[in-house]
C-alpha cells in the first residue's frame, strides 16, 4: 500500500502572520514550518509504515521554496520521499486552485490512501481535503480520531456532536485526521540527518500540465477587497476577588439583561 500524506507549510509563528500588499498572506518573507495539524497525519502515515501496512509513504506539498522546511520535518519523523510542487505562478492560489494542483499531482504519484490534516493552521478553511476527494471521486473519511487499515479497507472512528461513529471504505480513499489521533513523535537527531538523504522531487506546473492561468492570483476565484484591524473590544472591567465580586458580576450581567429570568 502506498500512502500520500498532504502537508502544508505555514508561517513559523502566528505573531508573524501578516498580509502583503497584494492581500495574500505574507508567506514568502517568513520562515515556513510544518502545519501542526498536519503532524498528526504524518505520524499516522509513519505508524502504518512501521506496522508493515504501508510499503511507501510520500509527502506532497504545494508551496513556496520555504516549504522545504516542512518537508524536512515530516521526513525526519519518518516516511520515504516527497514531492514539492513549486512554481512562481502558484503564488496567491485559493482553495479551488490548490485542490486542482494537489489532485493532479496525486494522480501522477499514484496512491492507495491519501492522509490530510483537519485544517491548515494559517488558512483554517478545512475544505481542501473534501475538494480533492470530489475531484478524484474518492470516498472521504473526515475527522478521524482513530485510523486503521485491514485488507484493503480503511476504517476510522470519529466523534460528532451526537454520536461516535465508525466509518469505512475500500481503498483508494482519502482520510483527514484530527488532533485527537495522537501526538507526533520528536524526530531523533539520527533521523534528522537521515532525512537529508531522502529524495525530494520538485514539480512545476508544466510538469503537471496545468495552465498557469488557472492558478495563483491570476486564476483565483475569490478576491480580497479590504483588510482592516478587527474591532478593538473596549477594555473590560477587571476586578479582584472579594466579597462583592459576585454581586458586581451579577450587576454587570443584569445591566446587559443576561441574568437568568425567574
Amino acid at each position: 500500500m502506498k500512502i500520500i500524506c498532504l502537508i502544508k507549510s505555514v508561517p513559523a509563528s502566528a505573531a508573524d502572520t501578516g498580509f502583503s500588499a497584494d492581500h495574500t498572506l505574507a508567506r514568502d518573507s517568513v520562515d515556513g514550518q510544518l502545519s501542526e495539524l498536519d503532524e498528526y497525519a504524518v505520524e499516522q502515515a509513519v505508524r502504518l509504515r512501521e506496522a508493515g501496512v504501508a510499503e511507501q509513504v510520500t509527502y506532497l506539498t504545494m508551496g513556496p521554496s520555504s516549504a522545504t522546511e516542512a518537508l524536512s520535518k515530516a521526513l525526519a519523523i519518518g516516511g520515504d520521499d516527497a514531492v514539492h510542487v513549486l512554481d512562481d505562478a502558484l503564488h496567491g492560489s485559493d482553495a479551488l486552485a490548490t485542490s486542482l494542483v494537489l489532485a493532479v499531482a496525486l494522480e501522477r504519484c499514484g496512491f492507495d490512501l491519501v492522509l490530510c490534516g483537519m485544517g491548515s493552521t494559517d488558512a483554517e478553511m478545512s475544505v481542501v481535503p473534501s475538494m480533492v476527494a470530489e475531484r478524484l471521486g474518492l470516498p472521504e473519511l473526515a475527522f478521524a480520531g482513530e485510523l486503521g487499515v485491514v485488507d484493503g479497507t480503511v476504517r476510522i472512528t470519529r466523534h460528532t456532536d451526537h454520536a461516535v461513529e465508525q466509518i469505512e471504505a475500500a481503498l483508494p480513499a482519502l482520510v483527514s485526521v484530527t488532533d485527537q489521533i495522537g501526538e507526533a513523535r520528536y524526530p531523533t537527531f539520527r533521523n534528522i540527518v537521515a532525512a537529508r538523504r531522502k529524495p525530494v522531487q520538485v514539480w512545476s506546473l508544466a510538469d503537471l500540465g496545468i495552465e498557469p492561468a488557472l492558478v495563483g492570483s491570476a486564476g483565483a476565484a475569490t478576491a480580497v477587497r479590504a483588510i482592516g484591524a478587527g474591532p478593538a473590544r473596549a477594555a473590560g472591567t477587571i476586578i479582584g476577588d472579594s466579597e462583592v465580586a459576585a454581586a458586581a458580576l451579577a450587576d454587570f450581567l443584569a445591566g446587559r439583561k443576561l441574568l437568568p429570568q425567574p
Binding site: M131, H162, Q166, A229, I239, F252
Partner: protein
C-alpha cells in the same frame, strides 16, 4: 433581485428539533432575505413540517432532493439546484459537515469558496474575522456565483412568512461506489442542555477546573443560565470533559450572547472559537491571563469561590 441559495441543514432526530432544521438554516434564510431573495435546497422529501418551516422564514423556492446523506451525492444535488436557480451565492452553515459540502459544491460549480463568514454584505461580500479577531477581511467571488459558509450566530433568525414554490431534484446516481459507509453509530447520551453552537449562553471550563469532578460546578452554572457547557483543550486533553464540547480552532466555534470562561487562560487557539461572542466574562486566578484582554468583565479569583457566590447571587435575585 439577486437570489441566494441556502442549504437547509437537517439535524438528527436525536437532537429534538421537530422540524429537523438547524438554527443556522433559519439564520441563513434571514441573512439571504436581507440581501435578496432567499431560496432553499434541502435533503428531504417535500414534507409539510420542513416546507412549512422554510416558508415561515421566507424561502421563495424550495428544492428538495430526498433523504440523501452521502456528501458527494448531496453536493451534486445542491449544485444541480444552483444550476437551475442561478443564485449569486450558495450559503451554507459553517460546521464540519457544512464545510465538506461547500468544498465539493465549489468544485462542481468551479467557483470560489469563502469560509467562516461572520456576515455577508451586498455584493455579495463575505466578512471574515481572521487570527482570533485581530483582522477583519472582506472578500468576494470573481465569477457569477460564489459559495460562502457562514458562522452560526452571524444574524438572529427572524420569521417572514412566504409561499414557496416547491421543486423536486432527482439525486444523481453513481455515488454509491465511492461512498464511505457508517458501520457503527453509537449515540451519545442526549443532553438536556442546548446544543453548544446554538446556545445563547455558554459556560466553559479549562485546566483551572482541575478535575472531571470540578466540571459539576461548571454544569451547575450553565444550568442556572439554561446554557450549554464548553471546555478548553486544556480540559478535554485531560479527559475532564468530552471532546465534543471543546471550543476553539480544532473544536467548535461559538458566538453566544454570553460566553463565561472559568479557569481558561485564553490561548489564541481558544479565542479563535469564541472571540465573536457578544459578551465575554472571565474568571481566572492569574491577572495576566490573556483571556482578560478580550473580557468585557473579569474577576481575578478562584473559580471555586467566585462561581458558588455567583450562583447564590443569581438565586437571591430570581
Amino acid at each position: 433581485m439577486p437570489s441566494f441559495l441556502v442549504f437547509a441543514e437537517r439535524v438528527g432526530n436525536d437532537n429534538g428539533a421537530k422540524d429537523g432544521l438547524t438554527t443556522s438554516t433559519l439564520e441563513l434564510l434571514t441573512l439571504a432575505r436581507r440581501l435578496g431573495e432567499p431560496v432553499a435546497v434541502v435533503g428531504a422529501e417535500p414534507d409539510e413540517a420542513v416546507i412549512g418551516r422554510l416558508a415561515e422564514y421566507g424561502a421563495a423556492v424550495v428544492y428538495c432532493y430526498g433523504n440523501v446523506a452521502e456528501p458527494a451525492a448531496q453536493a451534486a444535488a445542491i449544485s444541480e439546484a444552483a444550476r437551475w436557480e442561478q443564485p449569486c451565492a450558495v450559503l451554507i452553515g459553517t460546521g464540519p459537515e457544512g464545510k465538506r459540502l461547500a468544498g465539493r459544491v465549489a468544485v462542481r460549480l468551479d467557483c470560489g469558496i469563502l469560509t467562516d463568514a461572520v456576515d455577508v454584505e451586498p455584493g455579495p461580500v463575505a466578512v471574515q474575522s481572521v487570527a482570533a479577531g485581530a483582522w477583519i477581511v472582506r472578500s468576494e467571488g470573481v465569477g457569477e456565483i460564489v459559495v460562502i459558509t457562514v458562522r452560526p450566530g452571524a444574524v438572529r433568525s427572524q420569521a417572514a412568512p412566504a409561499k414557496p414554490r416547491v421543486e423536486r431534484i432527482e439525486p444523481a446516481a453513481g455515488h454509491e461506489l465511492s461512498a464511505a459507509r457508517v458501520v457503527a453509530h453509537t449515540p451519545l447520551p442526549g443532553g438536556k442542555r442546548p446544543a453548544l453552537t446554538e446556545a445563547d449562553i455558554v459556560v466553559s471550563g479549562g485546566r483551572g477546573v482541575g478535575s472531571a469532578e470540578g466540571f459539576a460546578l461548571i454544569e451547575q452554572l450553565a444550568d442556572a443560565f439554561h446554557g450549554a457547557v464548553g471546555a478548553s483543550r486544556g480540559a478535554t486533553d485531560e479527559h475532564w470533559y468530552p471532546r465534543e464540547y471543546q471550543v476553539g480552532q480544532t473544536g467548535k466555534t461559538v458566538s453566544p450572547q454570553l460566553y463565561l470562561a472559568a479557569g481558561i487562560s485564553g490561548a489564541i487557539q481558544h479565542r479563535a472559537g469564541m472571540q465573536s461572542s457578544r459578551t465575554i466574562v472571565a474568571i481566572d486566578t492569574d491577572p495576566k491571563a490573556p483571556i482578560f484582554q478580550t473580557a468585557d468583565f473579569g474577576v481575578v479569583g478562584d473559580l471555586f469561590s467566585v462561581i458558588p457566590a455567583l450562583l447564590e447571587e443569581i438565586g437571591r435575585r430570581s
